[in-house]
């Protein structure tokens, strides 16, 4: 009889109340769906709100005019050119450096302390707030290197900002290339660099290109660091990359959004539609590049 007591004490581990448990599960599933629904709703609300405000202001003139103190005549051409120039320079700078760094870390680096530190450092840099890069750019590019508050300074600053993103994306792409690809090249007598350049890089190209395009989209949408690099100005002419004032789309949006007149909210929303269109274009491009370059790769 004494043996029954301990068994009774451990009995509650078994939970037979199946109805109640299933009901909890259903409620939880409902909560999950509600959460995703809320997120989608927020995104839809954002898009609808912006488009409704932007609709009266979006026309060809808006794209091809310079900003004006009169809402009806304001346009975003200088900001768009500024954004495109910066995006181009950032792409040209971060592509070679980012890919080279990733190649070193994946294909060359031994598992030494120095190399582990390089890797940790890059992931830490990816977590530094963008505005801190603005402070860095202000001190180093604008002041010490005396490049001034120009497009060049802005592009250099944004390059440093997205370099960790490009490196991390390229590392992932290189790591996804199977080991056999490398061993095949070695077996044919390739040196390490020949192996990387002719065997691994082409195979990793779709992933790398996608990463770079998405990083450029990130750079184009960034405004915070550029406020410190002098982008917050009223620019009514087309900017020169190396001297003189400039502005970019996100800062132009900010500048219009803080003006008290209601009309400028509409103009700001119209500029948002333009930048969202640009983002969509870059994301689409990333998809196309991935599909086209990846056509011949199969393993």
């Amino acid at each position: 009889m004494a043996t029954i007591a301990p068994a009774a004490r451990t009995a509650p581990r078994f939970e037979p109340a199946l109805m109640r448990r299933k009901l909890t599960g259903t409620l939880f599933y409902g909560a999950c769906i509600a959460a995703v629904g809320l997120l989608l709703l927020a995104l839809v609300a954002l898009l609808v709100d912006v488009f409704l405000r932007a609709a009266p202001w979006l026309d060809v003139d808006f794209l091809t005019s310079v900003p004006s103190s009169r809402p009806a005549r304001a346009g975003i051409l200088p900001a768009m050119i500024g954004t495109l120039e910066i995006g181009l320079i950032v792409g040209l700078l971060t592509f070679p450096i980012g890919v080279a760094a990733a190649i070193y870390l994946v294909e060359y680096a031994s598992d030494s302390r120095l190399n582990r530190m390089l890797q940790t450092n890059i992931s830490n840099l990816a977590g530094v707030p963008s505005i801190i890069y603005g402070i860095l750019g202000l001190a180093v590019f604008v002041r010490v290197l005396a490049l001034g508050p120009t497009i060049l300074s802005a592009a250099l600053t944004l390059s440093l900002l997205i370099l960790p993103v490009v490196i991390i994306a390229s590392i992932e792409a290189l790591k996804a290339v199977p080991e056999a690809q490398r061993e095949g090249a070695y077996a044919l007598g390739a040196t390490r660099w020949q192996m990387v350049r002719q065997s691994v890089l082409p195979a990793a190209a779709p992933g790398i290109m996608t990463g770079i395009i998405l990083a450029m989209a990130r750079a184009i949408g960034e405004a915070a660091p550029l406020i410190l690099i002098g982008a917050f100005t009223f620019v009514t002419f087309l900017p020169n990359p190396f001297e003189g004032q400039y502005t970019v789309l996100p800062i132009q949006i900010y500048g219009w959004a803080i003006r008290p007149q209601a009309d400028f909210q509409g103009i700001s929303a119209a500029a948002i539609v333009v930048i969202l269109g640009l983002m969509l274009l870059l994301n689409g491009l990333a998809l196309v590049v991935r599909a086209r370059l990846g056509r011949h790769i199969q393993w």
């Binding site: 997120l39 609300a45 912006v50 080279a100 530190m117 890069y133 405004a223 406020i227």
Partner: protein
């Protein structure tokens, strides 16, 4: 072996070594960037501390850089930042985790391939756009009708927290989902075999097994919320004050840096230097969080 072949292999090995050095330099550029950030912040912050006592800076609760008499209690800005980040996390943690569970455990592959990119779209929206949404939609059309126009103004920490929460939700959802999907199928099946319901499997098996990734995602999101600038600067106002009332207008560290940068602040003035001191505070906070997140992943990672 002919002399020609030797010179060719010598040439090759020299070329290989030069290439390796160049690639190393590219990887080391990151270290240079880190040192440059720390040096810039340290030098200018040191100059700021020659004029303002660090104790006043770190313990004062009144911040007034542009209006005399000046006061440099950074806690007024830190409290604003923490308040916004706390509201953001209160929204993003439940939303992000529920979304992650849905995508990782419940959704069919077809639903997943549609829903996941849509959620990630939110993360790709330029943050100034979310700021615009906060100022012209969330505050006037959501918060003021809901709470009453007398209780909440045009600018509030709450509106800022909501847009930042929206911004960091995809981050939590995406990383947590990866962590949950990395939990091996066998663990789930073992629990099902013992009679657990789907919810019990998620709560008692998948969630604990993925906890390191989930924690890391939350801390990364916190760091992101603290450093967020453009989504906040339009929405929270320009009134630095030491308060934890979400309906108040406040100023975050990042919003202060923007305010100083767009104003006519003379280089070398105390206000200008305070920008770097605030930047250093922000950098220290986010850096500590990022290190913590990395540590958690390494310390609590379970590999199967």
């Amino acid at each position: 072996m002919s002399a020609q072949a030797t010179s060719l292999s010598l040439q090759r090995s020299i070329r290989e070594r030069i290439i390796e050095r160049l690639l190393f330099l590219a990887a080391a550029l990151g270290v240079l960037t880190t040192f440059a950030i720390i040096a810039v912040l340290a030098i200018e912050t040191f100059e700021f501390f020659l004029e303002v006592s660090p104790i006043e800076f770190l313990t004062g609760t009144r911040w007034s850089a542009l209006i005399k008499p000046q006061s440099w209690g950074v806690l007024a800005l830190v409290s604003g930042t923490v308040l916004v980040a706390a509201i953001a996390l209160a929204i993003a943690v439940p939303l992000g985790l529920l979304a992650a569970v849905l995508l990782a455990e419940y959704a069919s592959p077809r639903v997943r391939t549609v829903v996941k990119p849509i959620i990630e779209t939110i993360a790709g929206v330029p943050t100034i756009v979310l700021g615009f949404f906060g100022l012209y939609f969330v505050a006037p059309h959501l918060l003021r009708p809901l709470l009453g126009a007398d209780n909440i103004g045009t600018f509030s920490a709450l509106a800022g927290g909501i847009v930042v929460g929206l911004l960091i939700t995809p981050l939590i959802a995406s990383i947590s989902e990866d962590a949950m999907r990395a939990v091996p199928r066998g663990l789930r099946e073992g629990a099902f075999a013992m009679g657990a319901t789907k919810f019990e499997v998620v709560r008692k098996v998948v969630f604990p097994a993925a906890i390191s990734g989930i924690m890391a995602s939350i801390i990364l999101a916190m760091s992101r919320a603290i450093g967020e600038t453009m989504a906040v600067v339009l929405v929270v106002g320009t009134k630095p004050q030491f308060t934890f009332d979400p309906t108040e207008s406040i100023q975050t560290m990042t919003a202060f840096i923007v305010q100083i940068s767009i104003g006519e602040t003379a280089q070398g003035s105390l206000e200008y230097k305070s920008l770097f001191a605030v930047g250093a505070t922000l950098f220290a906070m986010t850096f500590a969080l990022n290190l913590l997140s990395g540590w958690i992943v390494r310390r609590f990672r379970t590999t199967y």
